[in-house]
């Protein structure tokens, strides 16, 4: 169970959201929506613990993620705007390193199978800098196939992918949720699930949130509250 209580984040002078609360239980997908610049990535980074929220608390199974620290990170898979793969290493090596860092030794066969499933059969021994943008993204997404982490936080995972890859990724997400996993993702498209619940959260900052002073920022936030998770 991932919970956020009374969360507030600010970027520079700009208040992105305040008083935000959410609860994501097992077998649930939280779809975070919002316009560009509404703070989707900031929220996701805060949920990962990469970013300290200006106020509020984030809990994983009832405990503050900052106290859990490494125990929380072990349960988490984050996929951000940057692919997080090394351009000079091959797809296989990249995946191998990711698996070792998760402390789950995976056999080379399983790694190859994962890459083949994501559509990179025949490309696994090429340095990833020779791959196209979409293929690089596929290498990074191959981690999802191998992952045993219960919580996935995915930031715009569908961009740069072709339709085949999008279908596969949707399948992976649906599978993960059906298996009792949690997924938090931002995307501008609809995601269908076979089993499990979808929650939607729309981040809707006030139209002129670029407040001059911090005092003004607080008032504008309370008048146009950032939004709350609405279970469907």
């Amino acid at each position: 169970m991932l919970e956020a209580i009374d969360l507030a984040c600010q970027r520079g002078d700009r208040l992105l959201f305040a008083g935000l609360g959410l609860q994501v239980g097992p077998a649930t997908l939280l779809h975070v929506r919002g316009r560009n610049g509404s703070g989707k990535t900031t929220l996701l980074r805060a949920l990962c613990g990469l970013l300290h929220a200006d106020a509020g608390q984030i809990r994983w199974h009832g405990e503050d993620i900052r106290e859990l620290a490494e125990d929380y990170r072990r349960d988490l898979l984050y996929f951000g705007h940057l692919n997080g793969i090394k351009a000079d290493l091959t797809g296989l090596e990249n995946l191998q390193i990711a698996a070792t860092l998760d402390q789950r030794p995976v056999a080379a066969d399983a790694l190859r199978a994962a890459l083949a499933r994501i559509g990179l059969d025949g490309y696994e021994d090429l340095p990833t800098r020779l791959l196209s943008q979409g293929q690089k993204k596929r290498v990074a997404l191959a981690r999802l196939i191998l992952s045993k982490a219960p919580l996935w936080i995915l930031d715009e995972p569908f961009t740069a992918l072709d339709t085949d890859a999008v279908t596969l990724l949707e399948e992976l997400i649906a599978q993960h949720v059906a298996g009792g996993g949690l997924v938090v993702l931002t995307t501008h498209q609809e995601v269908a699930l076979t089993r499990g619940a979808i929650q939607r959260l729309t981040l809707d900052p006030p139209a002129h949130a670029a407040a001059a002073g911090p005092a003004e920022a607080t008032t504008s936030a309370s008048s146009a509250a950032a939004g709350a998770a609405v279970p469907q």
């Binding site: 490494e70 951000g80 860092l101």
Partner: protein, 223 residues
């Protein structure tokens, strides 16, 4: 835990071997700076002998400074640093692995080539040996301290200059005792021991605290 440490170490070494320019630039910088002095100040034997320890050490310091900027920058740009921060491993351990890899690639070659460089300064064999030992103990300290600065200035524009301003003052003790040891070796070999012991103490302290500090700095830099 050791597996993760070894994984990062081999990863960084493999990456460096596939892109050798970064390693070679540091080494050539060191060689060139050390060789410029005899050309500049003339070939008077006594003068060079006196200048030698200081010049080699200052050049080693600048060379390790030059390489520092790249320590975390590449990982930061492609997002792998973000993933390292989220691995569920103690970050300081990963930082230590990265620093050791960095030293093996930029510090060790420099230590090995230093005796050759010392020949230009007519240092006797005792002094050359002491130079080798003092550099071998001292350059890891430079890498470790430098890692804190590299982490703090990560992602800043003009971070390179700021990095030098931050870190060079902290290098002073290592420089003083390192070049002091070599200078002392020319006078009395027995008197060198306390210098090397102090350098060793620096190394132990830096080994324990620098990865922790750099890990903290990285978390701040990625916010």
């Amino acid at each position: 835990m050791f597996k993760v440490f070894a994984c990062i170490l081999t990863r960084d070494l493999t990456l460096a071997l596939r892109r050798r320019t970064d390693v070679l630039t540091t080494l050539f910088f060191f060689v060139i700076v050390v060789s410029l002095f005899p050309l500049g100040v003339g070939s008077e034997r006594a003068l060079l002998k006196q200048l030698g320890p200081g010049v080699v050490w200052v050049a080693a310091l600048l060379a390790s400074m030059l390489a520092l900027e790249r320590l975390f920058a590449a990982d930061y740009e492609d997002g792998t640093l973000e993933q390292l921060l989220l691995t569920g491993q103690p970050l300081s351990l990963l930082v230590l692995a990265k620093v050791i890899a960095h030293w093996l690639l930029t510090g060790l070659p420099l230590v090995l080539i230093a005796p050759l460089m010392a020949m230009q300064y007519h240092l006797d064999w005792g002094a050359v040996w002491i130079m080798l030992v003092s550099l071998a103990v001292g350059t890891p300290v430079l890498s470790l301290i430098g890692a804190i600065g590299a982490a703090l200035t990560l992602g800043l524009r003009g971070g390179g200059i700021l990095l030098s301003l931050l870190i060079l003052p902290l290098y002073v003790p290592v420089l003083v005792y390192g070049s002091g040891a070599v200078a002392m070796a020319a006078i009395d070999l027995a008197a060198v021991v306390p210098y090397l012991q102090l350098l060793g103490a620096f190394l132990l302290v830096a080994l324990v605290f620098a990865p922790l500090a750099a890990a903290l700095a990285l978390r701040i830099a990625l916010e």
